[in-house]
Every structure is written in structure tokens, then in C-alpha cells.
Amino acid sequence: MKYWLRRIFRKQETEHQLDSELRFHLEQRIAERVETGETSEEACRQAHIEFGGVEAIKQECRESRRVHFFEVLLQDVRYGLRMLRRSPGFTAVAILTLTLGIGANTAIFSVVNGVLLNPLPYPHPEQLITLHESKPNFQYGSISYPNFRDWQKENRSFASMAIFRSSSFTLTGLGDAEQVRGYFVSSDFFPQLGITPVLGRNFRLGEDEIGAAPLALISEGFWQRKFGASKDALGKSITLDGKNYTIIGVIPARFGLTMIGFRTSNIYLPIGQWTNPLLPQRTAGLGIHGIGRLKPNFTIARAQADMERVSANLSAAYPDVNKGVGASLIPLTQLIVGEVRPFLLLLLVAVGFVLLISCVNIANLLLARSTLRKREFAVRIALGASAGRVIRQLLTESILLALSGGILGLCVSSVSIRAILNSVSSALPRAGEVTLDARVLGFTLVLSVISGIAFGLLPALRLRPELVSAVKERVLHSGGRWSVQRTFVVTEIALAMVLLVGTGLMVRSLTQLWNVNPGFNSHNLLTFGISLPPHMTNASPEAVRSSFRALEAELNSIPAVKASSFSWGAVPLQGDDEELFWMEGQPKPSSPNDMNWALNYVVGPDYLKAMQIPLVRGRFFTAHDDEHSPLVAVIDESLARRFFPSQDPIGKRINLSDQEKPAEIVGVVSHVRQWSLDDEDARELQPQLYRPFMQLPERNMVLAAGGVSVLLRFKGQSPGLVGEIRRHVRHLSSEHVLYDPMTMDQTISAGLATRRYSMALLSSFAALALLLAAIGIYGVISYFVGQRTQEIGVRMALGATRLNVIGLVLGQASRAALAGLLIGLVGSFALTRLLKNLLFGISATDPLTFVVVTVILGGAALLAGYLPARRATRVDPTVALRCE
């Protein structure tokens, strides 16, 4: 092994050594002869005669060494490079095609690798399981604090478990007042993820209990921004919603957990610090979810069984509140990447198709070229090369091409992937973890070599029987070649068809989704959060109400504002909140799970105007539905259907779980999509209940001072609207904080982001496939025309019209296209079924998509065939006849 290496890399040295060795022998012989008394000239002459031809011996020495695989390879590579340089046009087209094909594959694979294949950046990520409470209306509902504590104590399958709940706080005392995002977490949250603070410490056991001292962890970014990364930050206090918390640690910036319900934030407080009065209630659904770490060697199934045991015990211990409550477990990895997985795999398949089409195209080019090079091979064979040797040479050339394309593709994708990832980071979990690591490099290498063999092998093998006879033949009439080329074209069209149909179905799904009526007018609708000055969280309910009234008046005084409404509770497509009720005249059910559940919208009188939700019956709220007037409620058609079937709900009264007195239903509005545009109907909880904002129970009114949503309909294009609103709010105080402004269209667009980006990529892949297929057809039909020049000339000399000639050529093109379309159609029918779960509003065999794709692809095929056909009609019969 070491020997051939040395020989390849030190060829000159080997030659030199051979030379010295023989010279040494000669000199020794001369010296010996001189010793026996010969003159030095005579000795030299005799020795040379004796020795024989030095060059011949050297050659024999060289030949006595076996020719090594790698030496041949090196030779082939050198020869191949020379051949590729000699036809720069072909080489450029082939490498460009491969760069695109392999580059796109590398890019998509690097995303698949970073997002789906690489383990999450936590120790033993397979042990991390997200925890949810299952209850009648929600399979993955929020966990109540007391239940969590019992789960923690009684489970036997988790090494640790923790809960978290998002929140936002008004930060004061560090520059301007601002709204910061944060989470309430329990003590094990960071330790079980393997996150240790860069400074200070994590929360300790017991520090997360209700009533413990107010402590805080801050993010590294926040620490740098607000404290200049000073160590003195430890022990300092920060003021959130007017309350002081002692900083005990800094969470490293590398902590990047992003999933449904969690994204990294600036502030983390112990869950026990949450002042929500419902926290200690076992029935409260407060948006708390959990993560646990399984004990080593525990499976999720075993943990699920264990949690069922725990839940059964809790249901027995608290039958009135915990009946039907269980635990749902989802692996953390699945929760993080489960949603994008099918899209990524779809894209991977799509780029695979593009590469396949590229390979077929290049195989076609190679086939045409190998015909041209037939003489070259014949000469080599005549000089003693075996057919296998020539085929090996050809394969080396094609792999060289593929590797060049692979390297360039790698460059292209490494440059573009960052830019693309930055723009899709909101829609792609773990986008920051995507890199070109060893696995991606290996993938590209293997893919390149396989492509090289794939497109090189068939043309090389086709050559075999022809190689021997080529010397004798002057002209090649290879009907066989034409049939291979046609097979290539048919394959290409079939592949392109499947890809185009898949893309078409996905694009149609996206348009269907965009056109889904959410039940309100999402255009010209702005949403934002706003909090009253921090001291208002300690003020009386009356003061809070009047502060909100002033704010409402201020907002409505802005000229661009058509209508605005506060909203507490659920906001369509943004966040949910539930309220429990039971019918008037019935006893209060002992368990909340025996009450009726509804989505809870606590809104102002202009809500319908702002949202443009149609009123179906009765009336909506007015400014008079306030804290002094009797309680009223408005319901949606879904609630009316479910709880007041075949009766008029207007005038009926219901008991609300957070109110002392019953509320009278005064109106019915149409249903609004709360959950999402695509799987709204799959959600169990549909009934919707509206209540006047000013009738919010007093303790909630005070909580609302910490932040409510505003829904605001504006006129026309209002680019400076948010700034305008901020200026107006400043009239009231500098301590109001406006945060998270977003138009409803942006919300919808963000909700469809995964789909939108996938569609954009998928569409460009499909376009590329279409282009490649068209180029393939063009090349093959051009070849056909070139071969038939003479025939066409004869036909035209015998009176064939241009139309006849075009017909002849197009006939060839369309026959191939038809066969391809037919096979593609069958393939599409078979394969698009796999897409079923990704489609929306259309079937996997949507006729419109199939028809449009067939027309587009057929049209492209005919166009690609027409160009050479037109050239054929320009054939001058005299020239054509003379050319043989």
C-alpha cells in the first residue's frame, strides 16, 4: 500500500533511484575489472557490453511492477480532464446542470440533516418528553399547578419534570418602560435541559413554590443589553409589573428552545411568583405545559402507562375536579419538528426528482458525444485497451463531471443556505442549527459519485458492442441509439410530470387556504398588546376601568382608525382562552368538566365593527353594557346550535363560572375561525362566547391592566399607523407600553409560513424540472433532425411541404411526449396519494391540476420539438443530398 502511494507521488524519485541502482552496479563491475588489471577504458567498455541495454533493463524493471488501480485512475483522470477541456460547451452545460441539481440536493439535505436527523442540542434528547393534560375538550390541554405537583411526587418514570407558562411584563427602572417577554418556570426546567447559567445559578428546589422569595433569571442578551455583561448584575433587582425580583443567574445565549408554546425570552421567573389567583386551583386551564426527562431505559409507552396510574389516583382523590383528566406525552423532538417534517421530506423527494432529470439529460448528452468519440475508442482498442478499460475511462469522465458539479453545488448551497435560512427562520424550527457538517459533505460526495455512475454507465455500456466494429464502419446508423434517447425523453417527461402534479396540488392547497374565509375580514386589521402604567396593577377596578375608557377614547380619536376594541381572552388565530358555563335553572355542576366549555372573547362594543363579523340575530354590546348594567353575553352560531338546538337563544340566561349572577344572551354572531385556517374543524372546542369588556370580573379587570389586546380596523394603507398610535398613547402617559403590533394578514401569513416557503421552493424545483425536460426534448429532436437531414432533403425534393416536414419531426416529439405524459400520469396517480395529509381543500387526484400540468408539459414538449422542426424545413435539398 505504502509502496504504490510513494510511486504515484514520487515518480521522479523512483526513476532516479532506479538509475542510481543500475549505475552503482556498473561502477562496481568496472572497479572489479580494473582491479584485475584492465585499463579503465577497457573495463568500462567491457562492463557496458556485459551489462546490456540499460534502458531496456529499466523498462523491464518498471514493467515488473504491477500497475496499480490508483495509477490507472490518475491516468484516466488526467485523460478525462483533457477530454472535458476539449469540449468546453458540453462540459459547461453538464457541470451547470449538475451544480443546480446537486446544489439543490445539498441545500435541502443540509436542512433535513440539521432539523430532522441531528439530535436536539441537549444531553440525551431522546429522554425529553413534553407533558400536557388531557381533558374532555383538549387532548393536549394545559396542566394545572396542583396536578403538576402531584405528578412530580407520584410518577415513577421521570427523572424530573418541569412546567412553563409564557407571560409578558412591563419592565421599569432600566431606561424607558418596555414590555418584555418572559416565562414562569419550575425549578427543574433548566437543569433537566442541561442548561447551566453563564453567571450565577439556576432556581433551586423549593424556590419555585408559591410564596417563595422573588428571584429572576435573565437571558445573556438581556444581561449584555441592560447590564453591559457586568458581574455586578447578580443580586441586583429588576422591576417587573412594579414588583422587584433579585437576579440570581444569566441563561446562556446558546439556549435556543423553540416550539409550540415556547421560545427563548429575556426573563424567567419561578412559577410560584405568578400572581394569577387561579394558579392554585386544580381546575384552572392557564396555558401551562411541561417537559420531563425520562429515567434512563424508560420508554415513552412505559411512562404513559405510569402517568395513567398517577392520573387514575388523582381522579379518585379529586373526583369532582379531576374526573376525565389524564396526561398526554409527546416526545420533545416530535413537538419541535413534527410539523415541518412532511414538508422537508417532500422537498427532499422533489430535489431528488430534479437531480434524476439532470442525470437523464446528461446521459443523453454523453450518448450523443460517445457516438462522436467512437473512433477515438476504436483506436484505443486497436492499440490494446480492453473494452472494460474504455468503459472505465468513460465512467471516470462522468464521475469527474459529477464531482465538479458536486463541489460547485456545495459552494452554491453553502453561500445561499444562510440567506435562505435567515428569511425562513420564523417558519423553520432549529434553523440556526443547520450547518454543512461531515454528514452533508459525505452525502454530497456519495450523491455526486452515484450521479456520475448513473448518467455515465448507460452511455458507456451502450458503446460496448459497437466498439469492436467501429474501426471498419464509416457512418453510424444506430437505430438503437435513437430508441435509447427516446426512452430518456419519455423518462424525463414522466418524472417532470410527477413533480409538476405534486407541486400543482400543493400550490392549489395554498391558494385554497388563502381563500378560506376566517369568519372576519383580516385585511386592514391591526392587532397589538397594550399595558397600562405599572402602578395601575395595584389600583382599584374603578380606576383601571376609567383608565381603559380614556385609552379607548384616545385610540378612536386617531383619524386613520375606523373602529377599535379591547380584547381579553381569546383572539382569533392568535391565542385561545376558555370560559365555563351552565344553563340557568340547573344546579352548578361539581366538576368543571361537567360544565359547558366555550371560547371566551371579552371585547368592547366596537368589536364586530373592527372585525367585520356579521351579526345574525339580536344585538351586539353597546357602551351601556358596563359594570353597572345587568350581565349580557353574545354567542356564536356554533354555541347556539350545540346548546340551544331548535330554540331561540335570545333572552336565555346562562351562569358563568367567574360571575355571581347569570348573564342574558342578547345576540348571535356567525362563527369565526379561532384555531387555524386549515384544521379548525378538527378541533373539539368550537362554541364561542362574547362578553362586554367593562363587565370583566373585578380581579380580572385589575389583571387586564398588565396587558390586553387591541383589535383595530384602519383606513386604506397606513404605513405610519403604529407610530401614530404610539404618539397618541403618549398623550395619556409615557408608561403605557404598546407591544407586538401585527396586522391580521401578517398573522395569517405567518401561520402559513411553512407552507408558503415550501411552495416557493417546490415551485422553483418544478420550474427547473420543466426547463430541464424541455432542454432534453430539444436536444433529442435536434439530433433526430440532424440524422434525417438527408431524408428530409429527399422528401422536400419530392414535393413535401414545410408543413409535412414539421409534422414529421413534431410527430416524433409528440409521440415521445405522449408516452412520457401517460407514464407520468400513472405515476402521479400512484404517488400523489402520499401527499394526502399535506393537501387542503382538494383531492390528491384534483382534475384541474392534472389537466393544467398535462397542458403545460405537453406544450413545453411541443415547443421544444418545434424549434428543431422549423430548422428542418430550412434544409436545402441539394445540400442535404450531397452531404453523404
Binding site: 533511484q17 542510481s20 541502482e21 543500475l22 552503482f24 552496479h25 546490456g52
Partner: protein, 113 residues
């Protein structure tokens, strides 16, 4: 080898065996190998350079010999060959084969008419 058909595979193998045997005695350069074979065989074998060097390179290529450039007693640098472990095993097999063949040949020749 003088006087014999050097192309014959049988003799090529014999030359290889002789070289291996000589080299087995200790590191030695090409010129000395030819001298040794001539001496030991009492001038029966005179190895031609045209056979010796290709044979040496063939044996080196098969990893039966390894070579090293070292100064001779006279101070000139020369390429010294040495037997590898693989080469020693090869020599043993070849010697065994040779003994079998010559033994068999002797048996046949030894039979009286």
C-alpha cells in the same frame, strides 16, 4: 540465467527463490547478490543484470523484499535489499516446493532401468 531460457516461468521462479535465499542471509545490494549467486553456485549460475533487476523490483513490488539506501564499505550509497516477513514465508514455501520437486525428479531418475 546464462544458457537457459530466461523467459520460462519455472526458471523465473527459481531465480526469485535464489535471490530470496541470498537476501535472507542479510541486507545486500544488487551487485553483491549477483556475485554471491555466482560464487556459491561455483560459477554455475551467472545472473544477468537484465534478469536480476526486474526480479528485484518484482519481489519488492510483492512486498517480499524491502529496500533501503545505505553506504557500502567503500562509502558509496547503494540500494540494500532485506527480506520482509512475508518474503521469509514465501522463501520457505518455495524451498519446500523445490525440495518436493527435486526429490520427486531424483526418485524418477534414480530408478534403475
Amino acid at each position: 540465467m546464462r544458457g537457459m531460457d530466461a523467459k520460462s516461468e519455472f526458471l523465473k521462479g527459481t531465480l526469485d527463490m535464489l535471490i530470496l535465499k541470498v537476501v535472507a542471509l542479510g541486507p545486500i545490494h544488487g551487485y553483491a547478490i549477483s556475485q554471491r549467486i555466482q560464487q556459491i553456485s561455483k560459477d554455475v549460475f551467472q545472473v544477468q543484470q537484465g534478469s536480476l533487476y526486474p526480479a528485484l523490483h518484482r519481489l519488492e513490488d510483492r512486498d517480499w523484499l524491502e529496500a533501503e539506501w545505505k553506504p557500502t564499505e567503500t562509502g558509496r550509497e547503494a540500494k540494500f535489499y532485506r527480506l520482509t516477513r512475508k518474503g521469509r514465508r514465501q522463501l520457505e514455501t518455495e524451498v519446500r516446493n523445490w525440495e518436493q520437486i527435486t526429490g520427486a525428479v531424483a526418485l524418477i531418475l534414480g530408478t534403475s532401468e
